[in-house]
């Protein structure tokens, strides 16, 4: 019974050590300052500068990943050409993945700016966004690893066109307009611009 008590105590101690270590790590990360909002691997400048979201490239990507094209090649070409096409299709899928990720990050950035500058926020909206972010990051990293390692079958994008065309045009326009206004507000609110500038 004494041994059982001691092992319970050891477990409690271990648990507390673990919790404190986690808290200190999170503290260090939180105080480090705002992280970079874009990941490496794909330059954001080209896409951000472009007015065309990735959806406009979908027909080209669908063409690049069309199975009938690949089946034709498999019948008519050498294994070396098939391998090259397979690699290039994989690169197309990875590029599309990066485009999705950049758009996701851009939307998140806009959402954070809008939430930060709003006098009131809806907690459920924020938690929902956090849930969507966690889900996206998890799937994104897993798919990227699988594609790079060659384990994932190449995607069929047949239903994507329908999904994307279902988006409200008003949302696209409203988000774009507010994105520009939020970016301007964030610029005005940034520390660099505060020196000597009085904000209303």
């Amino acid at each position: 019974m004494e041994t059982e008590g001691h092992s319970k105590l050891n477990l409690t101690l271990l648990l507390l050590f673990g919790i404190v270590a986690a808290l200190l790590l999170l503290l260090a990360w939180a105080l480090r300052g705002p992280g970079k909002l874009t990941k490496s691997g794909a330059s954001s400048s080209a896409l951000e500068a472009s007015d065309r979201p990735h959806v406009n490239f979908l027909p080209h990507i669908r063409q690049a990943l069309d199975t009938s094209d690949y089946e034709f090649l498999a019948e008519k070409s050498t294994p070396a050409v098939q391998r090259r096409v397979r690699h290039e299709r994989r690169d197309v899928a990875l590029a599309y993945l990066s485009a999705l990720q950049l758009e996701f990050e851009g939307l998140l950035r806009m959402a954070r700016i809008i939430a930060g500058l709003s006098p009131e926020i809806v907690v459920m909206q924020e938690f929902e966004r956090l849930r969507l972010t966690a889900k996206f990051i998890w799937r994104y990293e897993l798919i990227r690893m699988k594609l790079r390692a060659g384990f994932a079958p190449l995607p069929q994008l047949d239903r994507l066109g329908n999904l994307i065309s279902g988006l409200s045009v008003r949302l696209e326009i409203a988000v774009k307009e507010l994105g520009e206004r939020a970016a301007l507000a964030a610029e005005l609110a940034s520390p660099r611009d505060r020196r000597g500038i009085g904000l209303v």
Binding site: V122, K135, I143
Partner: protein, 259 residues
């Protein structure tokens, strides 16, 4: 151990002087009050132990009561610094203090139940629980600050980091001291108390370095947008994020191509 306690008091007096000489007390009066109260408590404890002795029940009650009062002041001081950081962002502050209160409340509740089951060690467990709740709540709020990329002046980062670090050290030394006492090594407990005081001295030194410079000039508040914009756009952004997740889902569960 007494000389370490003496160094701790000297460090606190130095920090208190900086708060008043550099003008920080105007921006953070509650924090300044907390440091001053710490110094006063040290004097009070000397008087109490001189009058009643170390082992007396009266001394124990008075000492723990003064400690409880200090913990309240610490909460106020921390809230003050967090409000300085998040106050201009009203929506985030509204979320932030709820996260603080929720995290703190849940952990204190669990601790209260644990302390209730072990009355002889209730004070020790309650002290540990408080520090754990305090550290966890503060970290949760700071993660929120990081998530929304809210800028934090470096001195305030050090103040908040110091509070959290000290609470984490208190949790560990409390837990180790408790474990040692249960296993019959109660005489080693002063060693662990020394660890707590040493951690506090380290925090005081960090605060002194952070407060060495004059108080930062009060920054202009950010221009807030209308809440109707947030209420209109936020759900639409979430819908868009949901669609992007669905697009990723298409890649996640593709139909297998025959290669």
């Amino acid at each position: 151990m007494q000389w370490v306690w003496g160094i701790s008091i000297v460090a606190q007096v130095f920090v208190c002087s900086l708060l008043f000489l550099r003008g920080h007390f105007r921006r953070i009066p509650a924090f300044s009050g907390y440091i001053a109260a710490n110094i006063l408590q040290a004097g009070l404890l000397i008087a109490i132990y001189y009058q009643f002795g170390f082992g007396s029940r009266t001394a124990l009650v008075l000492a723990w009561s003064s400690q409880a009062f200090l913990l309240l002041l610490r909460i106020l001081a921390t809230m003050e610094v967090l409000h300085l950081v998040l106050g201009p962002y009203r929506g985030i502050w509204g979320l932030g203090w709820r996260v603080l209160a929720g995290t703190f409340g849940v952990i204190v509740l669990i601790t209260g139940i644990e302390a209730g089951r072990n009355i002889s060690w209730a004070l020790v467990l309650a002290d540990r629980g408080f520090h754990l709740a305090f550290a966890a709540a503060l970290v949760a709020c700071l993660l929120l600050v990081r998530y929304y990329s809210i800028p934090v002046d470096p001195p305030y980062k050090v103040l908040l980091g110091g509070f959290c670090f000290y609470s984490c050290a208190a949790v560990l030394t409390n837990a180790i001291g408790y474990a040692l006492s249960l296993r019959g090594f109660a005489k080693d407990e002063p060693v662990w108390q020394l660890t707590t005081i040493t951690a506090y001295v380290g925090v005081q030194i960090a605060w002194a370095v952070a407060l060495w410079k004059a108080a930062p000039a009060e920054e202009s508040k950010p221009a807030l947008i209308k809440s109707s914009i947030y209420r209109q756009i936020s759900p639409q952004i979430n819908d868009r994020l949901y669609v992007l997740n669905e697009q990723l889902n298409q890649l996640w569960r593709p139909r297998v191509t025959r290669n």
